[in-house]
Amino acid sequence: MNTIVNLSRRTFLATSATAAASLVLGLTVPTPTFAEDEGEPSAINAFVSLSDDGTTTILLNKSEMGQGIFTGIAMLVADELDADWARVRVRSITDPHREDYWTPSYAGVGTGGSRSIRESWMDFRRAGAAARDMLVTAAAQRLEVPKDRLRTENGYVIDEENGIRLDYGELASLAAEQEPPAEPTLKDADRWKLIGHAIEQLDIPLKVNGSAVYGIDVRLSDMLVATAMQSPVPGGTVADVDDARARAMPGVAAIVRDEGFVAVVAETYWQARQGLEALQVTWSAPELVDENTQAMMDRFAAALDGELIAAEGEGDTAAALSSSGRVIEAEYQVPMIAHACMEPLNCTALVEADACTIWGPLQTPGWAQGVGAGVAGVPIENVVVNTTFLGGGFGRKFLVDFVAQAVLIAKAVPGRPVKTVWSREEDFAQGFFRPAALHRIRAGLDNDGALAVWEHRLAQPSILHRWLPEGGAMQTPLERVAAESLPGPMLEARQRSVKEIDPTIPESIASKTYYAIGARSLKLAMPPSSLPVGIWRSVGSSGNAFVFESMVDELAHAAGEDPFRFRRRLLEASPRHLAVLDRAAELAGWEKPAAEGRFRGIALDACFGSIAAHVAEVSVSEEGLPRVHRVTAVLDCGVVVNRRAALAQIEGAVMQGVSAALAEAITLEEGRVVETNFDRYRVLTLAEAPVVEAHLLESGEAPGGVGEPALPPVAPAVCNAIFAATGVRVRSLPISQHDLRRV
């Protein structure tokens, strides 16, 4: 059976020094196997290691947070390698500073932006193909026959003429000595045995019996557990701490005070938690505080009235507006929302004289490694980073504030590993939320009902400027530590991509050239944010598509046209997008009447290299309570690697999109987050979950993103259906704040 190499309990109970050296070991179900039980491994290249027992280990530079990337990468490598899938194991890398593992756009190791497949699928395939070539070369040497007489299949090199089959394991050490081919030959698509099929996830067996190890499950001998608090008004600093009571409490080993947090280190989480609650901490307020959510939105409105940055423009919008037959004006708002990963933030660190070891649920091991080096004051190559399974990521675990905190705490207890675990309340209060945004749009139709002009103004705080060392006064103390510890190449890559404008802000508004729009302009304000903001699944597109596609629906109704057919006209010159829209409408039965009391809405968006269109079917009760019954979701992500994973990602993105649209919002009172646990931050339950009919439209184009692109069209499809049901136009989220009784 396949093996996920997982942090094993046996490792945890080893001494810390041993643990640092052996790191990730195997754990299979039902029979655990461990790295030390394997045969002799030979590293063929950065991604492939073969053991003389025939096991193929595929090294992973991407983090598994439920998107199925472990399985996806393994499929890409194993297919080109002609490996025996049943003998494939996977293992996370621990040396992200090694350039072979970098994602080009980050110049480092990180998982985000739905990039893993679309940016690196050829690298994984080449690694497999190169290893295959080296095995064939080795076999040709061993058998003294020309290479072209040999073929490979299912973990064997085969010499048909002489009836000889050599197991890859027998050839492993000889293959490792071969020169890698300059340009390995890749398979044509018609010879793929894994790619494009529906393959079961390698990690699922571990996730039904409690044996999958997440960051929070890390256990090491001699380990302490810490929990911490930052300023309840985010970004504040510690002014004074009275820790007399906490110090006297059972199990408490240390109190750690830093610029932006106080932590209690104890034998168990419960003791640390009790200790933390016994602290009396006084905080200094940060430079910018929004008293409440309205005060924040008022600042955004003032910013929109001020000087704006031109992000995009084509044609003369002023002239087009004045000559337009019908002009619609609308203001839309997007709330802050939380990632609320089911696994609260946590990270384990061990700081020694000249080394640092980190274990955690990390989306950016490359950045975590820089933080380990910067905070512990050791060379980056002396920082070992163990990436565990992530209990949800959604962008929150791309940031490394929690890693910086864990290393700062561990530094205060040198030589002992310390696991820092956040409470759920802290996880919410110190979130890096999807930013709130304020949009003002004026759009005009010409006399034929064509979209003649679109003028868009948008106020939203920058996310990406916060990631730079010069990110400004609004960074929290931990954010500053993290930004200042960015490894050089990652910093340079960020500086290249972030100029005056944070490029995530206009996503799904700018460059929307697939829609036929006469004149267009987009102008931005980037007001500072009083709260930390970050990347939330599908980033700018998650809010922007709600606004854009709701407004398109408004225009369709103003033009007196069916919203599906109105979009069809906008997409006349964009056949690929039109095909996705048409498929969604066809599968949802758009042209047929919906069931009694049910109403439909449609929306389309393109982001992260893919195109998605959804039809939502909604009812609204007489009391004004909405219910999303069904979402028909179509994704064109080009070549599909694992059909099973892609469909699951569509389902998940739609559910998360429905959850966010219906009831999710982070609000402020007295500068503090109001929703600090799941009793106040309402997420979708089974009872509210719609049926998701997920479909892949296989265009055969280059692979696009899968994890994110199915999310943005959800909110507008649902809100457009609500308009169809009630005549109420939802121009701000969440939907739960609106009175939906029929107007």
Partner: protein, 149 residues
């Protein structure tokens, strides 16, 4: 001193009687399959069985467990062959998987008292939170497991 059984083994714990069962399982017994999600019994990630009933262990103090029989995800079956676990694999339910220990324990508890739950029964009983959006696979897997129990 609290004496109770976990997955068929007897334990005597000398620990703070206010310590929730969740943290005793995770930090004292090393049974990390039971997850911390919220600490206020709102998400269900920490669900275990106490005397056969599903319970949210993050708010269950050790003091209340004298003599109790506790079953965690690690003890549901020795080889992942419990009908609910099998249905979870067959339906490829988990994504990140973090909530699934609690989901599986909650569902195993439901099927114990109601072997053929309707969709409405499921809606009422399974209020655990999943953030990855595996909801419809969970529902399908519950019906699948119910058919085999």
């Amino acid at each position: 001193m609290v004496k109770f059984n976990v997955n068929g083994e007897r334990y005597t714990l000398d620990a703070d009687p206010d310590m929730p069962l969740l943290w005793a399982l995770r930090d004292l017994l090393g049974l990390t399959g039971t997850k911390f999600g919220c600490g206020i019994a709102a998400c269900g990630a920490c669900t275990v069985h106490v005397d056969g009933e599903p319970v949210r262990s993050c708010v269950m103090p050790l003091a209340a467990l004298e003599g109790a029989d506790v079953v965690t995800i690690e003890g549901l079956s020795s080889d992942s062959t419990h009908a609910v676990q099998a249905a979870w694999i067959a339906n490829q339910v988990p994504q990140c998987g973090y909530c699934q220990s609690g989901m599986i324990m909650a569902v195993a508890g439901l099927l114990g008292s109601n072997p053929q739950p309707s969709d409405a029964d499921i809606d009422a009983a399974i209020t655990n939170i999943c953030r990855c959006g595996t909801h419809q696979r969970i529902r399908a897997a519950i019906h699948d497991a119910a058919a085999k129990v």
